[in-house]
């Protein structure tokens, strides 16, 4: 098998928050690599630094020290504008609380990142259609988030993340707000996407979910403790 291409390379990444004179080391010299086509789970207890890690991976925030290379690009001293562009082109987010825009329909939500890519109308419609098809929600395209169940909303969020064909799909507790049956459906969807070639990083504190991934990275008090 040919050499696998790394999508994420993090080296000695630290993030320190200062709260009232106290230093909180949310990430302490964390290093990890995620390869193309992998399905990786990052697991750790509450407060261990999982979300902080995801924010840096997702270019929502930058590290205080260390280096981060995403899909061959060194992110470390990118400007706000450049980070926005990287998020738009290379990252697909799926959040615990869906984070859809309530004013827009399912279609409108999925279309949004494509608008920010300045794609033409026809191309956008085509991609929205394809993304909704992949999550099995074509029938609900015209519905607003309030007219959809939690599971359906999360599917819309996944479709929005997929629409731009990102290098990586970042999911932070994507099943945290769903009942176990619906959660299983979303996990099944992730497996299906993984089989069709997507690179997925799943962040969770749930051992059962983590087991379903190809590989598990454990994190504790800001340290990466175990890579399997």
């Amino acid at each position: 098998m040919a050499e696998k291409k790394p999508i994420i390379i993090m080296n000695d990444v630290s993030k320190i928050y200062h709260v009232g004179g106290e230093e909180v080391r949310a990430l302490d010299h964390a290093s990890l690599t995620v390869y193309e086509g992998e399905f990786v789970a990052i697991i750790g207890p509450s407060g261990s630094g999982k979300s902080t890690l995801m924010n840096i991976m997702g270019c929502l925030d930058t590290a205080d020290s260390g280096s981060y290379i995403l899909d061959g690009q060194e992110i470390d001293d990118y400007s706000e504008q450049e980070l926005a562009k990287v998020r738009n082109r290379k990252i697909g987010f799926v959040f615990q609380n869906f984070n859809l825009l309530s004013r827009l329909t399912a279609e409108g939500n999925v279309e949004l990142p494509l608008i920010y890519q300045r794609l033409g109308h026809g191309e956008r419609k085509r991609r929205v259609q394809a993304a909704l098809e992949r999550v099995g929600l074509t029938a609900r395209a015209e519905h607003k988030p309030t007219e959809l169940s939690g599971g359906q909303q999360q599917r819309v969020a996944v479709a929005r993340a997929l629409a731009t064909n990102p290098s990586i799909l970042l999911a932070d507790e994507p099943t945290g707000n769903l009942d176990s049956k619906t959660g299983d459906d979303i996990m099944a969807l992730f497996h299906k996407l993984h089989e069709s070639g997507a690179t997925i990083v799943l962040i969770t504190h749930n051992e059962e979910l983590a087991k379903q991934a190809q590989r598990v990275i454990r994190i504790m008090d800001g340290h990466v403790t175990e890579v399997r």
């Binding site: 997702g58 929502l60 738009n88 984070n99 929005r160």
Partner: protein
């Protein structure tokens, strides 16, 4: 991207109609104040200035206070009129007396006129003829009646050729004038009768000219100078001995007054527009805070600072412009109603005022939208995403 930003702004404006309307209210009222006040002033001054120019813009009214023992006669005026800057000069002396015809009698102002007088005053004949130079030379007992005077004395009957009595003397009516439809004559009744200057001065016991009118040949200022020179020469260089009223200086004074009036009212309206702008800023700031989460989501999926700034700025601009359009429509309605009530004067919205309102509203929307839009644009994506409102 611009089109998309406009669509996004429109969706947001549309999704909260009541709030959007309340936000616009300040601009609506401001635009209404601006457009209605300026249009009313314009309409009213339009009427007044046309009145003043009806009085004759190239007209000088001269009155002699102290003739220094060398009074003016008709031939002096003719001499004055031969100056190249002066077209006509005519005495304007008049007296009040009773005019009778049959059983009807009226109080009329009787003016001693020359042929030039009618030209200077811009009077138009309805029937018959005007007073000619021969009538003046021969001191003929003939009279020209104003439309009102003819109505009062003859109540619709043919007046020309009939005889009227003025101060106990009989005059033959030779002509009647067209109705004067100016505002001035609507306010003051104009029972005016014109007889040859020579006859009037004899009846009034006033052989000299104490007031006269001059029509300039071109430049009114040059004519004024010529008249002043002539009179100074005659009256021992005493510039208190006569007074020249330049009608064009009255109308330019009027222009200054109305200009200041529109400026003042426009200023008041501008202030109310400004207050409307502050309203937009307030609501936009609230809206930006409320939509922190939305901003976080947009940023997470790749909207940059500029994109967010543009979206909110366009939203503010849209609110201001919609407010402006509403304001203009309401103004048009108000002006229509006022015109209906006022009757004789029609108030219209001039394109200048419309352009002014649109430009001003847009500027207000942009200026007062900038701060909230910038607040939105500079939010940190993580903090914005974490916000629960």
């Amino acid at each position: 991207m611009l089109i998309q930003s406009i669509i996004m702004a429109w969706e947001s404006v549309r999704s909260n109609k009541l709030r959007s309307f309340l936000t616009m209210l300040g601009i609506i009222i401001g635009v209404m104040a601006l457009v209605v006040m300026v249009s009313l002033v314009n309409g009213a001054t339009g009427v007044v200035t046309s009145e003043i120019s009806n009085l004759g813009n190239d007209l000088l009214n001269v009155s002699v206070r102290d003739d220094k023992g060398s009074p003016l006669r008709l031939q002096d005026l003719n001499e004055l009129a031969s100056d190249e800057t002066i077209r006509y000069a005519a005495p304007t002396g008049s007296m009040y007396t009773t005019a009778k015809h049959g059983y009807s009698d009226i109080n009329a102002s009787v003016t001693g006129a020359t042929a030039a007088y009618f030209v200077i005053e811009g009077m138009e004949l309805e029937a018959g003829r005007l007073i000619k130079t021969v009538d003046v030379e021969n001191a003929a007992y003939v009279a020209v009646l104003s439309h009102d005077a003819a109505e009062s004395l003859f109540s619709g009957e043919e007046a020309i050729g009939k005889t009227i009595t003025l101060g106990g003397r009989s005059f033959r009516v030779i002509g009647t004038l067209k109705e004067d439809d100016s505002l001035m004559s609507a306010m003051f009744s104009s029972n005016s009768i014109y007889i040859p200057y020579t006859v009037e001065s004899r009846m009034a016991g006033q052989p000299y000219i104490s007031s006269f009118a001059v029509a300039a040949a071109g430049d009114t200022g040059a004519a004024e100078q010529a008249v002043a020179d002539y009179l100074l020469n005659r009256f021992a260089q005493d510039d208190d001995s006569f007074q020249i009223i330049n009608m064009s200086s009255i109308s330019s004074a009027m222009d200054t007054v109305t200009g200041m009036l529109s400026l003042l009212l426009g200023g008041i309206a501008a202030i109310s527009l400004l207050v409307g702008g502050i309203g937009i800023m307030n609501i936009m700031l609230v809206s930006v805070t409320e939509r922190t989460k939305e901003i976080g989501i947009r940023k997470a999926i790749g909207a940059g600072r500029g994109t967010i700034l543009m979206q909110f700025l366009i939203e503010a601009l849209m609110l201001a412009l919609f407010g402006c359009v509403f304001g203009l429509l309401l103004s048009a309605l108000i002006l229509m109603i006022v015109s209906m009530i006022a009757g004789s004067i029609t108030f219209t919205m001039s394109p200048d005022v419309v352009i002014l309102a649109v430009v001003f509203s847009s500027a207000i929307g942009l200026i007062f939208g900038l701060y909230p839009a910038n607040q939105a644009a500079k939010k940190h994506p993580i903090e914005a995403l974490r916000y629960e409102g």
